[in-house]
Symmetry: C2
Subunit: 309 residues, 2 copies
């Protein structure tokens, strides 16, 4: 799967991922109105609105991008109907040939992590039949429990040719509270980064490992150090745009081959029509605004990488 | 909710929680056969088997215990039908007046943690209507992202009178890999424990805070230290029984009032009929075996606390 992600990035010239993290407040009225007319002001109605919103954004951007990253919390907050919209979104993105990164940030003791891995990137047997419960291509994983909490995910990756992005240095303001604390003179995130490199060592694709890392765009200096600690790990970089990261900050997350990182933007793309720059599209043409925002993001990162050559 | 948990513990004299973590392999054939006959060998069939299994265990134990702890991963691995069985289990346990601890170990950046908190311990508005997506009473939370990843959960706890258990020192063998690393001479788990005490300071019930901690039964010496660092935090203690913890190891997780901790057992209770001690019940009477195992666990912990007075 990591090779497929790399190929798609090379083909699109777009090391970016669109975060499908819909909030009801982002969804234009014409969509919610129609969904509520059909299903009422219910969880089912909200889920239908989310799904129709996602579908239109995917339809307007899939040819420009290699991957999407639905954040499962935004669906889980609408209970079962919300999770059905998550699954529908994953399946639809696969129809459109996109790589799907499930942003689930799971992680637990061994047997429990194994259940999460089965549910999200694996298959489960029921009697004599086999099912794919959620079917993402990559998932994000929390490392706090250490190797035996991560290994079941790694094992399923090997079997099913899937991939992981493990939280190393997160994009939020208080990420340093524990992650930056010094242990034998080096911050915790560096120790986690070293483990990511180890965990990924026997999951190599052509040039990169199937076991990647999450490092926030908001911490470019740390990205530079982590890039060297995990040379073979792809870095998923959240925090671009709405959280404050810019293209020029991101060049050191990449390797000299121009690869090695994939930058996420969520709100900045899916709610682009609410920004001044894209207001001309109006709520009616929100998905065209998203397409324009994707093009601008590709240009911003592409030219920053070009300047850095 | 923390006051309700304390009252229920005092009434039952049972500082224990039954972990409803069903694996298909634990479920007796008479249940899976019936479920598969009705729904086929499908995810729906597996979910029905899980639900019937849970129901029978709850029916045979609810009068002895204050709380249950369904581990959501064990349901999530069966996709949407599995999560429907999770929700059905939560609702049924509420009918039986049990406190429900959702073992979800979520945690993300602020806006995303807010969505998880809404989904699991809060309510969500759709148009003019309000819904309760999953409706647990407590949830477990991962602290790796720091204060701004935890605070949205704390905020919902305050509004909705719910509670949290934050991972401090987990029960698994490799938990020490990061959690035990020394920072300014003290292990990371102590720093996290201090934060738990701070986060909980303005969420006080009568004697305990709504913000508790998870500390594994498998690390009793660390439990002793953490008990002092977080005197007002209830400690959820996994790892009893199947993972190796014994009643005598657990006394230092409790305060002198005999309260302050609640010990979880999952496999040891729900799959008791598979153990030599309870084999006489047979698969047919598996839920009676669970009841006997609950009684033995209450006795084991109760007498250890008695000896320690």
């Amino acid at each position: 799967m990591i090779d497929r992600l790399v190929e798609k990035i090379q083909k699109t010239h777009a090391p970016i991922v669109v975060g499908l993290d819909p909030m009801l407040g982002y969804i234009p009225e014409q969509i919610t109105k129609k969904a509520f007319a059909e299903y009422g002001e219910t969880l089912e109605g909200a889920a239908e609105a989310i799904w129709q919103f996602n579908k239109e954004i995917v339809d307007h951007t899939y040819d420009l991008i290699p991957a999407v990253k639905p954040q499962i919390a935004m669906y889980e907050q609408f209970g079962i109907p919300g999770l059905m919209a998550f699954k529908k979104t994953v399946d639809y993105c696969h129809e459109k040939n996109l790589v799907v990164i499930g942003d689930i940030k799971r992680g637990d003791i061994g047997s429990t992590s194994a259940a999460y891995a089965t549910g999200h990137i694996g298959n489960i047997q029921v009697g004599n039949k086999t099912y794919t419960p959620f079917g993402e291509d990559f998932v994000t994983v929390n490392p706090y429990l250490g190797t035996d909490g991560v290994k079941p995910f790694v094992d399923v990756c090997k079997e099913e040719k899937k991939g992981l992005f493990i939280l190393v240095k997160t994009s939020n303001p208080s990420s340093g509270e524990f992650q930056d604390r010094l242990i034998d003179g080096r911050p915790l995130y560096e120790w986690v980064g070293e483990k990511v490199a180890q965990w990924g060592a026997d999951c190599m694709g052509r040039d990169y490992s199937a076991i990647g890392a999450v490092v926030g765009a908001t911490y470019p200096e740390m990205g530079k150090v982590l890039r060297k600690i995990m040379p073979k790990s792809f870095i998923l970089v959240p925090g671009y745009g709405a959280q404050g990261g810019k293209g020029a900050d991101l060049v050191h997350f990449f390797n000299e081959d121009g690869l090695g990182a994939i930058v996420n933007s969520s709100r900045g793309i899916i709610a682009a029509y609410k920004q001044e720059d894209y207001a001309k599209f109006g709520a009616e043409h929100f998905a065209e605004a998203s397409r324009a925002a994707v093009e601008a993001m590709i240009e911003d990162i592409g030219s920053a990488l070009e300047r850095n050559r």
